[in-house]
Symmetry: C2
Subunit: 326 residues, 2 copies
Amino acid sequence: MQGVPVLTAVEQAIGAELLEAEKILAEELHSDNPYVSDILQHSTRFRGKRLRPMLLLLAAKAAGGIRQDHKVLAAVVEMIHLATLVHDDVLDDAETRRHVATVNARWNNETSVLFGDYLFTHSFHLASSLETTDACRRIGHATNIVCEGELSQIKERGNLDLSEEAYFKIIDGKTAELTALCGHLGARYALAEPAVITAMEQYGRSLGLAFQIADDVLDLMGNERKTGKSLGSDLQKQKLTLPLIRLLQTASDQDTSEIRQILAHPEESTRDRLIPYLERSDAFDYTNKRAKALAQDAHRQLESLPNTPAKRILSEIADFAVQRSF
Amino acid sequence: MQGVPVLTAVEQAIGAELLEAEKILAEELHSDNPYVSDILQHSTRFRGKRLRPMLLLLAAKAAGGIRQDHKVLAAVVEMIHLATLVHDDVLDDAETRRHVATVNARWNNETSVLFGDYLFTHSFHLASSLETTDACRRIGHATNIVCEGELSQIKERGNLDLSEEAYFKIIDGKTAELTALCGHLGARYALAEPAVITAMEQYGRSLGLAFQIADDVLDLMGNERKTGKSLGSDLQKQKLTLPLIRLLQTASDQDTSEIRQILAHPEESTRDRLIPYLERSDAFDYTNKRAKALAQDAHRQLESLPNTPAKRILSEIADFAVQRSF
């Protein structure tokens, strides 16, 4: 990911605070137990985009300024995200993440389940080091919704009639709730006005939705080498995402019946077999338009903020969300 | 479990408060999502001994009196316990719990993982409804240790040389940390003196250890019909527990080699094949003595408390811990 301009700008604007958040995270997760310590060590190699702490700190900076609490909260949201990733990898039987073996592949599913729990409990432990229960309460609420979103996703697996509305409800829960929380907490703990807090929360929500749509497109069309993770898992697990929902809505009767046949019997070649249908449809165009509209909404939410480097970066992140290929 | 005298006494002493805690739990876990609601409905059928809320409320009553916060905390600890049970059932591939199909058996492993997460996040959400972060912080810390204990248990699976010390460290983390927390929070939120808080915490710890040892004996020698859960899973998963550790320490060389052979290749008949070795050893006597010593320690911790019905019941629970057959 080196050389991506927006990330270089992030580095300049909040690099020091991100590092401090990392340090808080590492201290919270320190363990004297050699087994736990090994897993922790391994999991630091899943170094990702750090999107959530970045959002939280940038929202703080754009809305009034970064305080010590923000760094703690940035570590908390990253830990929650990591917990959901570890459990997702169990659910998806994923073998690699960020070019590194997943915890379930390297150890086993049991270890992954418990390690995810460990990350969840530590995130709450860390959140409760703040002075009031306010953040704990909001984090608790958001994570409740994340879990409901993930449960709905499991329930809808194999449902080839999934509606767009149901799809958006799922990704709003499993992804956008947490990014919305980042915007909210960033602004709230910068002591911003209620209207700014609401705008930053909505920024986070729209951005999260746009990111998730892009992620779903990558799972369908991405390059495993570039993304560094196992792809095609949505198809293997019969999780319908926006391009496929659109494809099924718009294809001819003949095509629809063939596509349903392919989706109903997942195999290695499923991705390749779907490509011709996708290419002669407007599925990717349509999906891209929906993602762009969300990025536009994210931009709009930033309008009332003063012009600062942090605001500019948040704006660029919204563009990046719909252009990325990793 | 009807007709167990100690439970009738509990009912009389704190029945109303236990019911209120149940109500708080049910309200926290209410969901408008039909899938989540179904799972919640199903999971209420795992109605267990309610040991943890009971302990917390009895400790409160014995140490000064039950307040509203105690009922919330009782719901929180039960929810955490339920979360660990749901994840344990995934880890153990268990099919029944309290005579009812487990979540993984009725739905699937993915749903169990996420439903366990859902219970964890709700427990923290509920804990953060209290006025200060104090309970959140303590609950976060205790659950961190629970997860480390469970992870150590996974690591030691298949280790036929597990020491007593390592076994005690594991059960102290995975079980006794939470029962110790119940004693601690019960006394603390009853505004008891520090010495009383420490004594109630130690009571909870010793009791938790005694209960876990009894549970491990039941897994080896219990009756599935009576306990209402899948048994023998420790052997299937090659988890060494106290009777087996003792057996391996004291058996003749010839027997030891045969026992190790049996343990190393778990099958349906493993329990039955071990019985003759266990019967001609002091393994159960020894285990029973260790559990009784812990129950004795629990009794000792109660000495400084005034004589109340709540204290008497805590004392009886310590006896019950080592006599139960379910």
